[in-house]
Symmetry: C2
Subunit: 470 residues, 2 copies
């Protein structure tokens, strides 16, 4: 009993110091050995104290580099639930989107606009090994056409990996695609027709708006809360009008919101009542910062109406273009569309990913990636608190790569984009993420790059540019 | 002068023997050494004699294996110019197409239905080397997103390679796609809308019919000659109704026809008069059996209305899914559609192909591939003469991978497909290549596999099955 009290006492002291602001978000805590030595306690007791602090969300462990403060009573307030105009399709900011993603290979620009992990966070040497192994093991070294459903081995690995959300999928349930965006494209081609209406979050990933435009679909943007996501009541009202619904259910792009399980269940149920398919893009689901992976809506899909899409583009290799879809009852339609528009997908990169997913390597990599991104997100939050104007509104990210920032109403983030680019800082203006006249004072920042003093300085500079532009 | 007369004399003798049927198509001729010894002439004179015969189209050289007879006054007659019904869109044989391409990885089936080169004809070891080099040289080993237009190096190599048809393209004119089928998909997404009508050959590659169906386009199949391709006069008549035209201008799939230059010029001109884009799929253009590469329609495109599509799927690596499009004035629209549906293409396979295309390696490989396929085509022609019923109609292939076979009117090749599959022979029934009620007595055979006695036996067996089914 004594030992238990001891570690709790030490944990309590550190927690009070953190609450009092003696330790700030992102600060590195003393090592376990130091704590043990300075408090005259065993290493084991120190470990238990830190474990307790970690459990309560005060600190976070970063592999090999130690423990960091992870708690801060935010002085910042969160953006309100969005209230998009009830008009359907408005105008897309196509020029702006092209502008933001122009010359993505220019390394002199700090790209807070890119929602991908930086190379240094990826297991590239191991992937290279697996690529060579794939080249040597595949029939014809991967030069042959493959069956349209995609690599059996990869489908098997993906199916097995769904154990982390109690998914009950088999390799037969999965179709490989050229990334998650391509999965969404195939899903819309399979289940919608020109003139149909789809319901989406607001703000929404611009790629969904562009896809809808390309296929002649009307878009209904629905009220969305920055923490819990789309408003199920708002969705309920439009069910009679829509042909499909698209949601990034976990750590949505751009808001970062994550639907609670009860909302997911409710949404799946109400869509099923109207026999409406849900295209669920779950590409950030594995990048969670809490204790466990949030389930996707697919976990509650009894009717085969949820088309669950994901990829390794945000966790392993954006450039491999390997994604997948578990299309439920639409499997044959999806395979048909894939054959028509792609014929098949390249075996080499698929097999490299499949090899990497064997054993627990992918799980270990994700563990490290999550720690790193979590730590990045805390640094970003702290920098925004420190460098951005008082009235800035954000939500502490629960997972994923993005932080949605609401600035003073007077600021136009499209103009801000051009001002920041003069300093070679790229941001994603809010207007990219809607067809309506809204979010002009918002922007999306990505924290996918390794945290460095240089990044911190760029955020400080961005804060200055914002302050000047008011 | 004496030497010249000598080699001409020997060439003349052999030519007469071939015309008289003493040597038959596919027969191997005596080696140069044997000819030299038996005629008491120098090796150089023998070489000149064979060169003369080759130039005149009597014989063909196959690298490392010697010289083969390549001339035969066909007793077979060619199919007539097709006369598709003038109705627009009819019904697609979707089930049949899926059936024919089911379980393509099953190696126990002789796939006369697959229009791709067999592994053994591909430079796989060299490609593997280039893949490893690509992995080592690309930023992030190819895990990064790439600019949407695709690999600059590959675009440059492709542009340079168009010298073989006097193409005047630069890397800026080219967009990389996930294969030539994907290029056609992006082209249709960029330039058509649901309800538009497109003009195509008849018979036509089924993938085009499926694409049109997927995008809600109406299809007008036009009369097509098995040797010179689509009838320009028929196209002229429908110009006021169509939004786009799709042609496989060189060695079309499935008929193998190749448009003469004057027809290409005429078609490009008449389409330009109506400001109608031409999607030109030129994926077989490099696999010619005559002296030089036939120019694509793109060579005569002054208005930027020709979207020239091609790939390495038929010449290097089907499984790499590397293709391209030179979209003329539609470049921005194509890049936009690519971003929307694919985001980008994988750098690794692109760079492997680009590395391979450096220097003259690709040209040398194509040279060997053409010889091999030409030789295969001659063997197929001879086997069809020998084993198929008298009334069979074919055209001697001028390039590409396919031979279009017209059988007795009484034969239904869809039924024949199932009968042949019982013997594990797969053919492509004619009904796959039209939306109309036609070509039921036709089939497409591919000679992309290395010619062996086993293949010859399978063709003999197929001939027997056909004879029995009358």
């Amino acid at each position: 009993m004594k030992r238990e009290i001891l570690y709790q006492k030490i944990a309590g002291t550190i927690a009070r110091q953190i609450k009092a602001g003696i330790w700030r978000v992102g600060d590195k805590l003393p090592s376990l050995r130091t704590i043990s030595r300075e408090n005259g306690i065993s290493l084991n007791t120190a470990i238990q104290a830190y474990y307790e602090l970690e459990k309560e969300g005060f600190i976070v462990a970063s592999p090999k580099s130690g423990y960091f403060v992870n708690y801060k009573p935010l002085r910042l307030s969160a953006p309100a639930t969005t209230q998009p105009p009830t008009k359907d399709t408005g105008e897309e900011e196509d020029y702006l989107i092209s502008e933001v993603y122009r010359s993505i290979e220019d390394l002199s620009i700090t790209r807070f606009s890119m929602g991908v992990p930086e190379d240094i966070l990826l297991p590239i040497a191991k992937l290279n090994k697996e690529l060579i192994r794939a080249m040597r093991s595949l029939p014809g070294s991967g030069t042959r056409y493959e069956d349209a459903q995609g690599s059996l081995k990869l489908r098997n690995d993906i199916a097995r990996f769904t154990y982390n959300w109690n998914g009950n999928l088999t390799e037969e349930d999965i179709v490989i695609t050229a990334g998650a965006g391509n999965a969404t494209s195939l899903a819309l081609l399979a289940i919608t027709q020109r003139g149909d209406t789809i319901a989406v979050e607001s703000p929404v990933y611009f790629g969904i708006l562009q896809l809808a435009n390309s296929l002649g679909l009307r878009v209904l943007e629905l009220p969305t809360n920055p923490i819990v996501g789309i408003d199920p009541d708002a969705l309920k009202k439009v069910l009679p009008q829509i042909k499909a619904c698209i949601l990034i259910s976990n750590f949505s792009n751009p808001m970062g919101c994550c639907m609670p399980e009860e909302n997911k269940k409710a949404v799946v149920k109400m869509l099923a009542d109207y026999n409406i398919p849900l295209i669920e893009d779950d590409l950030y689901g594995d990048v969670f910062f809490e204790n466990s992976r949030p389930k996707p809506c697919k976990a509650f899909d009894e009717e085969g109406l949820v088309l669950w899409c994901s990829s390794v583009s945000k966790t392993l290799a954006p450039g491999y273009r390997v994604g997948w879809i578990a299309p439920g009852k639409f499997k044959n339609a999806i395979i048909r569309q894939k054959k028509i528009h792609l014929i098949s997908t390249p075996p080499l990169t698929q097999m490299a990913v499949a090899n990497f997913m064997e054993n627990s390597r992918y799980e270990n990599h994700l563990h490290r990636l999550r720690r790193e991104l979590h730590s990045n997100s805390l640094h970003f939050v702290q920098s925004i608190i420190d460098y951005f104007p008082e009235e800035t509104k954000i939500v502490r990210p629960q997972g994923g790569f993005m932080i949605w920032v609401e600035l003073d109403k007077k600021i136009d983030t499209t103009k801000l984009y051009y001002e920041a680019m003069r300093q070679r800082i790229s941001i994603a203006p809010g207007r990219m993420f809607t067809l309506q006249d809204q979010f002009k004072n918002c922007m999306r920042l990505s924290y996918g790059q390794k945290w460095t003093p240089a990044i911190q300085e760029r955020l400080m500079l961005l804060g200055d540019i914002i302050k000047k532009s008011i």
